[in-house]
Symmetry: C2
Subunit: 281 residues, 2 copies
């Protein structure tokens, strides 16, 4: 089993933390682009320089329910961090295409049984928790990728928002997404599934965009439980508490319930579209 | 008495809320640029359009300790909200200059006793609570304005950060600011002041950049007190609680202790520099 997950959003939205929380281990370390550009400034009194978008990949073998999973996380540090972010989507779209091309080329060889599938199965896009609506960069980026990857929008650091603000913000985002005709990943609901599965699926679908928090730290709640969470002077927010955020639902979508569906939709729809376009040109 | 306060930062950092909280009334209403651009989109399926920076002013007469204060709040909706934010500082610097020019022109008239001082006495710059360090847009903007206004950097929505993250973030910001030779407002400490005043002043100076939260809503804490704050499932954060954030210190700086000093430094240093530069050109 393998899962190729792309994670995109401006610096400081808790992307590394969330990935590490999803897989409960330090998949991503906190020494990416941000610190590199600081060292560079030590040598010269630079103007605030524009940062370009890099593509990095981190591979981990993890075990979920006794099953080994080869997890590839692709990051894009620098996205959204410049003063001028025109075309910041391009290196990311190029990377998605490059992986499609790699598969296309592998498919055309004689021995196809051992193709290493490097195509992006899902792209988590992190939205800043402003509480207003999508920003122009969010809209532009999502429009550039939604026909190439399973797009899963995430409200980052959702502990910034009260329950009511989350409701309003999700509604504004959903309105923006539908107005801009952006497609986000929807698992299929089959009529012949049992009621519980249908309800579970509907709950996951309805939660999008997922308002999540991430934390790999263990903290003690006021009633003495040890949980993954963030401790503030006014209280402890718990990652795995469904009253506090949508983390559990996102994890179910990515790792438990819909891992296969993400890969099927990538293969049967997104890749096929890419292939058709490419071969008919 | 009057106070001209400029408030700058990308959309969604709680600027309107903070201003309303500082003066405990609805100085700024929540119907600025963000909603306008949405209505525009209703007419046409637009590309995510770039937003330009507008300058708005809101005037209120408020009473503080029995003293009437004419409060002018200048906002810059659209700043930092485009895909390309090159030169987004220009309309703001132009506005600061325009007000200097207006004063220069009024000063040169015969009847100078009733000059209406519209110069910006302080600029609150809102920093996104990423937890990392300043972004390139932050650095560029602050360098463009620090010699023209009393610059007061604010960590927006600081309830996003744990106490330890605030300490680290403040340290990174202070390092960036000193490395980039950015000047921020520092009240003068006079040796002949009494000890309590000196200590109070030092506390306020040490708190910069101010990690604040804003709220005009009244909520009930778990121990039954009614406070201004934000209520989450995991706890209530209190605006006026100095254990929770630097709001009280910021309010003291702006309204109580250093209102006169902000105006003096504007008149005696910032305006004089502008005037000298302009007249010697
Ligand atoms: N409030 C809040 N802070 C978070 C959350 N997740 C991570 N952080 C903090 O945000 C900062 C940046 O996190 P990081 O994962 O490095 O962000 P990245 O730059 O997007 O990869 C760190 O101080 C984290 O502890 C969250 O869910 N809520
Ligand atoms: N977490 C948090 N949210 C805040 C704070 N202040 C305001 N907000 C919320 O952030 C959203 C945007 O606030 P607003 O004042 O309109 O931001 P502006 O666009 O910068 O003027 C609203 O949902 C506010 O309730 C704060 O201190 N902390």
């Amino acid at each position: 089993f393998n899962l190729n997950l792309m994670v995109v959003g401006e610096s400081g939205l808790g992307k590394k933390t969330l990935v590490n929380t999803l897989f409960n281990r330090e998949v991503l370390k906190s020494t990416e682009a941000v610190l590199e550009s600081f060292d560079k400034e030590d040598d010269e009194e630079t103007e605030a320089e524009d940062v370009t978008v890099k593509i990095n990949e981190y591979t981990n073998i993890i075990e979920e329910d006794g099953v080994k999973l080869k997890l590839n996380i692709v990051t894009a540090p620098g996205f959204g961090d410049s003063i001028d972010n025109t075309d910041s989507w391009k290196p990311i779209v190029n990377e998605v295409n490059r992986r499609f091309d790699q598969y296309l080329e592998a498919e055309s060889r004689i021995n196809r049984s051992t193709i290493d599938d490097q195509r992006i199965h899902a792209l988590l896009y992190f939205i800043e928790p402003t509480g207003h609506s999508l920003r122009s960069l969010d809209i532009e980026f999502m429009k550039q990728v939604h026909n190439k990857v399973n797009l899963i929008p995430i409200i980052a650091k959702s502990d910034t928002l009260t329950d009511k603000e989350i409701v309003d913000f999700k509604r504004n985002i959903i309105n923006d997404i539908s107005f801009q005709k952006i497609k986000t990943f929807k698992p299929e609901i089959f009529d012949n599934d049992d009621e519980e599965t249908i309800l579970n699926c509907q709950n996951i679908v309805d939660a999008s965009p997922f308002a999540v928090i991430g934390s790999t730290k263990e903290v003690e709640t006021h009633d003495g439980r040890i949980v993954r969470g963030r401790k503030y002077p006014w209280g402890v927010i718990e990652v795995d508490n469904e009253e506090h955020n949508d983390f559990v639902k996102l994890r179910q979508l990515l790792i438990r319930n819909y891992l296969e569906e993400l890969k099927e939709q990538t293969n049967d729809i997104l890749y096929e579209n890419y292939r058709n376009e490419k071969l008919t040109r």
